[in-house]
Symmetry: C2
């Protein structure tokens, strides 16, 4: 077969590579010109070399070191087949990591939107809320004084196992009562929001996937500090008593970080809400 | 809220990071212990710091430089939202690159399997073949003498645009006739195999997606050299004439690289086949 000769510039265009890259590939012996003019030292390529790029380009796209690609070129068919199968597995793992990261960042974004939704703080409002899914665990002896314990790490691990990363705040529930002070409040459950209420058989028995039902809620949002906690709960109780609402659920509490900087004091928005009937 | 203190080892376990990484994060101010014992210099962490990792971990998973993550921590909500949206786009592009590379490598693998399927070379066999999809273009004035021209680069670019990378050999068709010599053979079409025969509206008019139909074929496979080409075609003609087969198609020729090494002479297996009725 007679073949056209391509200059390095033409080959660069055909192969979608830079001239500099082609020179480097030649230097390390990965992809060499078919012909070098002995007078001018110009490199010339032929079209039938293009198939070599079928192996080089995708391996390079997945960050295989060039020396490893060079070794792969010289493998026997069987060895190359096995090598490529291993590369495919690696790629699938890389894709999984990226997909999980994307999900996780999209939840940080949702969290930002969520924080911005509250224009009015420290005031009880009555509103309809949609259903949301959570994974929860019983909170044995956990009070407002020690809620931020490693329990959340466990919940996060569970939610990651069931549905990738999810960073949408940290929640807790307690029964609606007339407490004497914040110290008396004992949590019933700790929870974190998840995307789905699909049951997974593999979930350890101490964890439960459930929903915060849709309905009418009395709701207050405040920036966390120990005094604001008790104040806000008292406002919620006062509203319910004064307006004679019937209470249909526990109190749901959700902590959401206001920022992610370790260089500012930690600060959270807390949403406290209870389902009502009126 | 009272909080438990974790040693650096405990925090490493909770966060799924190494102690060395946590020390480095402290050093560069990305993730700092809540408390350092002034006597022992031991670092202590608290659980409420964990949410900071919600931002750090996924950004790190997509290779965001640590200094850039540090800058992201201090962005305002709106800025952080926009930053994360840009990261998500980048991640989606990275996933696309990986998926294309995976497809491409899986086709190199298929090619290897394909080459290994031929145990008997240089002999005409009659066999049933399944349907396969190709993208083809008219071969104006291209003969066996100059087939490996940049036309294949064009076809490859088309197939990449329609269905990701595809490296499954290089094909051509010509009409079945009694030629005087190989020089007289003029190709009708050049083609490359593709995964799907789904028509795409965006395909330039000179290209066509079609199929090599299923049916009975007379087929010969040989290792390419100019003499073998003519010899093999002659064997195919002889068989068809002697066994009085009716010819139902053009001759399909498919070149498949035997290896991908630039350090060995280029070598191809060529499959030449024609659909018959008997």
């Amino acid at each position: 077969m007679e073949e056209d000769l391509y200059s390095i510039g033409e080959m660069a265009k055909l192969a979608n590579l830079s001239v500099k890259t082609l020179r480097y590939y030649d230097q390390i012996g990965l992809f060499k010109p078919a012909y070098v003019d002995p007078k001018t030292n110009y490199r010339y390529y032929v079209d039938s070399q293009l198939f070599q790029l079928d192996l080089i380009q995708p391996l390079k796209a997945v960050n295989t070191p060039l020396q490893e690609i060079k070794l792969a070129q010289d493998l026997s068919s069987n060895e190359l087949y096995d090598f490529l199968s291993r590369q495919e597995l690696k790629i699938q793992q890389q894709i999984k990591v990226l997909q999980d990261a994307e999900k996780s960042l999209s939840h940080v974004k949702k969290n930002i939107c969520f924080s911005e939704r509250y224009t009015e703080l420290n005031k009880v409002i009555i509103q309809e809320e949609g259903e949301s899914c959570i994974v929860q665990m019983r909170a044995e002896g956990i009070s407002t004084q020690n809620v931020m314990t490693k329990s959340y790490s466990q919940l996060k691990r569970i939610s990651e196992a069931t549905d990738g990363f999810l960073n949408n705040g940290y929640g807790a529930t307690f029964s609606f009562q007339n407490y004497a002070s914040a110290e008396d409040i004992l949590y019933r459950h700790l929870f974190i929001p998840v995307l789905t209420n699909k049951q997974t058989a593999s979930l350890p028995t101490e964890f439960e996937i459930t929903t915060i039902p849709a309905g009418k809620y009395a709701l207050i949002v405040y920036e966390f500090n120990p005094e604001a906690y008790w104040e806000s709960y008292s406002k919620l109780v006062d509203t319910i008593v004064q307006q004679q609402f019937t209470v249909l659920s526990d109190v749901y509490e959700l902590f959401m970080p206001i920022h992610y900087s370790p260089r500012k004091p930690e600060s959270y928005l807390v949403e406290m809400k209870i389902r009502i009937f009126n």
